[in-house]
């Protein structure tokens, strides 16, 4: 039996409202994440991968804002909770998180969703020990377990006074001994040697790889159903990268959680993912199973990405780069056409209209006219078409 969906993302758009204008970082993105799978999102820098990740956890910060979309998350308890009060936000076992409250979304961080960030060194607080930060993640879930949607239950007995005292005096007492012990266990699980000793070390006393392991431990603290890993290996040495990927692999096999893996590294995608979405200029331009996307790719952008990988068995004299760079995502400058057209070697007249997402075989779909069979009818654009348009 095919695995059930855990998360269905529909028409998700996230925009940044800056002084220069509105930036469409994520535009109308659709994808599903199934139970126990690794879903990969791949794309170059600035394509909206990280913002998509932040949007899933409702962590987009001002001036950014999720402007539209639905996040259907499968959670029976939550669905039961909302079936009465907000029937429009419930569909079977699914709840549209966008139609719940901020408080509900926050209560899901930890036990349902958690995240591994790109740069472990800056993603830990430099003035608290790593162990305490992990224990804090355990503690907040332990406190929340009695009343998961309440903020107060998470801070009970730990007011501003104690927080302030905690800055001056050591052992401020937010985490209790059980949480500490659990944190040590988590450190051990992710393969940190001498976990009890390393508990008291500060982030700067860790190596990058060890700290990334610690971050994975922190993300596991609430036993999440979905782990979002945003470029988890980008800041690490190549040898360490493989270790972290192995770790994620093992943990996933052990816990059965789903992973959304965000990376610009196609090798990582090929190694880890069951299904994959290719992002370009805020859109998912092609998606499907790993085989479909990598072996029967339709979108010229995907082909371009695959073509720019060096092949050790058949070293070509030069790699094939994609000409140009990602367009500026300022709303005012985005025309209503295929965003890749001006870099596309196969651009056609049809590309001047915005391509719909076209289903291919199986789960394979692409936002490209090439996915249609009748594209032959259309005329190729001359190669310098966009330069001339720009000159006008």
């Amino acid at each position: 039996m095919a695995a059930r969906d855990l998360l269905r993302v529909r028409d998700l758009s996230t925009r940044f409202f800056t002084g220069e204008g509105q930036i469409n970082a994520v535009e109308s993105v659709d994808f599903d994440v199934r139970e126990g799978e690794v879903f990969g999102i791949v794309g170059e820098s600035g394509s909206g991968k990280s913002v998509t990740a932040f949007s899933l956890l409702d962590l987009v910060e001002s001036p950014g804002q999720i402007t539209s979309g639905e996040l259907w998350y499968r959670d029976e308890d939550l669905a039961a909770e909302f079936r009465e009060q907000r029937p429009e936000a419930v569909d079977g076992e699914f709840v549209d998180l966008r139609r719940t409250s901020e408080r509900v979304r926050r209560s899901l961080r930890g036990p349902s969703f958690s995240m591994v960030f790109q740069d472990p060194m800056s993603s830990f607080n430099p003035t608290l020990t790593v162990g305490e930060q992990i224990a804090e993640a355990v503690e907040v879930q332990r406190r929340a377990s009695t009343n998961p949607r309440s903020t107060r239950s998470r801070t009970q007995g730990y007011g501003l006074g104690r927080m302030l005292a905690g800055m001056v005096l050591p052992d401020s007492g937010y985490v209790d001994e059980d949480s500490e012990a659990q944190a040590v266990k988590l450190l051990e699980e992710v393969g940190i040697p001498d976990p009890a000793e390393r508990y008291d070390a500060y982030p700067h006393q860790f190596s990058g790889g060890m700290l990334q392991r610690a971050m994975v431990a922190q993300a596991l603290a609430g036993e999440p159903d979905l782990l979002v890993a945003d470029e988890p290996t980008t800041a690490l040495d190549v040898t360490i990268q493989a270790q972290i990927l192995n770790l994620l692999d093992d943990l996933q096999a052990e816990t059965g959680m789903s992973i959304v893996l965000i990376t610009h590294n196609l090798g990582v995608i090929a190694r880890m993912c069951d299904r994959v979405g290719v992002m370009y200029a805020g859109e998912i331009v092609e998606r499907g199973t790993l085989e479909e996307v990598f072996e029967q790719s339709v979108h010229p952008y995907t082909e371009g990405l695959l073509g720019s990988i060096p092949d050790l068995d058949d070293p070509a004299p030069r790699l094939q780069p994609i000409e140009g760079s990602v367009p500026n995502l300022l709303d005012a400058e985005m025309e209503d056409r295929c965003y890749f057209a001006d870099r596309c070697p196969k651009a056609m007249e049809k590309c001047l209209d915005k391509p719909p997402e076209i289903e291919c075989e199986g789960e394979h779909a692409a936002k490209c006219v090439l996915a249609e069979t009748e594209y032959h009818d259309s005329r190729r654009l001359p190669e310098d078409y966009f330069e001339e348009v720009a000159d006008d």
Partner: protein, 329 residues
């Protein structure tokens, strides 16, 4: 490196800095025109009298001998005698220290207690009225001259409404506290508070404004960092994210600024002391310079320098305590 070793290292540094200060202070006298004899001798003094004065003051000795004499007597707490008053300089200088320290600490206290919450509120409510209010306050506070503010406070609060005394320091904190402890009489302490309030506010306003700004921008800076997002991602409530995580890191640089300012206030409260006739070291130093009473000038400068170094060692210790990266680096 442990915190203890770190502090020992800093203290050794401090000793050298103090030595440097003493040397410069000693040298100052020879860089300024005119002999100290002129300050002491009557205008019509004979050549013979002038020579005798020079000999009494030790001015006829070679420079290096004067330097080492000065250094060694200073080590024994001897700053020489006031040229004009004939009293031990150390008695006069150290007598001024309590008033100065009281004022500096009171001003810093007011500043810290007001500015950090204000800065945090401004950062929490960025681009809201509370933020604009705090920003405006800090702009006004930074640009208001001390003497004007002092005089205005006296005119309005003391003269017009009679809420506070206009000037003076009838008793120090120490005797006031002693009175409270031995006799159980809080009157002395209240009187002290009553008198120090306006000078402390005057001196502390600029400081409050400065730290408000620093706290606001520091907090905004920290809130934009990746670890804050990570803290939110693990489900921490916003209060914990802001105060347990972001504020803690905001305070690290602020401790340094507070310390440096406290050091500056010890020697730099001249104008406020003058406006409120506060008998502190700053006004004392200016008066001594006017009459070229070198032992008093040197003594004051050495005390100010030593205080600065001491405050800095304490700040370094706090800094190392708050930011664990400092000690290991």
């Amino acid at each position: 490196m442990s915190l203890g070793r770190f502090l020992i290292k800093r203290t050794v540094h401090g000793v050298f800095v103090v030595w440097g200060v003493v040397t410069v202070v000693f040298g100052l006298r020879f860089l300024t025109p005119g002999s100290p004899v002129n300050a002491v001798a009557p205008l019509d003094a004979s050549q013979e009298l002038r020579q005798r004065i020079a000999r009494d003051l030790g001015l006829n000795k070679p420079l290096y001998e004067q330097y080492f004499d000065y250094l060694f007597s200073l080590l024994q707490g001897d700053m020489g005698y006031s040229y004009l008053r004939g009293i031990e300089a150390s008695t006069l200088v150290l007598g001024r220290v309590p008033a100065t320290v009281e004022l500096a600490v009171a001003a810093s206290f007011i500043a810290v207690v007001l500015s950090i919450p204000l800065g945090v509120i401004a950062a929490n409510r960025r681009h809201e009225p509370a933020d604009y209010g705090a920003t405006l306050f800090s702009l006004v506070g930074i640009s208001t001259p001390n003497f004007w503010l002092g005089i205005m406070l006296i005119l309005v609060l003391s003269v017009q409404f009679g809420l506070f005394p206009t000037s003076g320091r009838p008793l120090g904190l120490y005797p006031a506290l002693a009175l409270l402890v031995t006799e159980g009489a809080p009157g002395g302490l209240l009187r002290w508070l009553h008198h120090i309030f306006l000078p402390a506010v005057t001196l502390g306003t600029y400081f409050t404004a400065l730290i408000t700004r620093l706290t606001r921008s520091g907090m905004l800076d920290e809130l934009g960092k990746s670890y804050v997002r990570a803290a939110r991602a693990k489900g921490l409530p916003e209060a914990l994210v802001r105060y347990r995580h972001a504020l803690r890191n905001t305070l690290v640089p602020i401790v340094t600024v507070v310390g440096l300012q406290l050091g500056t206030l010890i020697g730099g409260a001249v104008i406020t002391e003058a406006v409120f006739s506060w008998p502190g070291l700053g006004s004392f130093l200016i008066r001594s310079i006017n009459v070229r009473d070198w032992p008093l000038i040197q003594g004051s400068l050495v005390v100010i320098g030593v205080s600065f170094v001491l405050v800095n060692i304490v700040v370094d210790a706090l800094y190392a305590y708050l930011d664990p990266q400092v000690v290991t680096e």
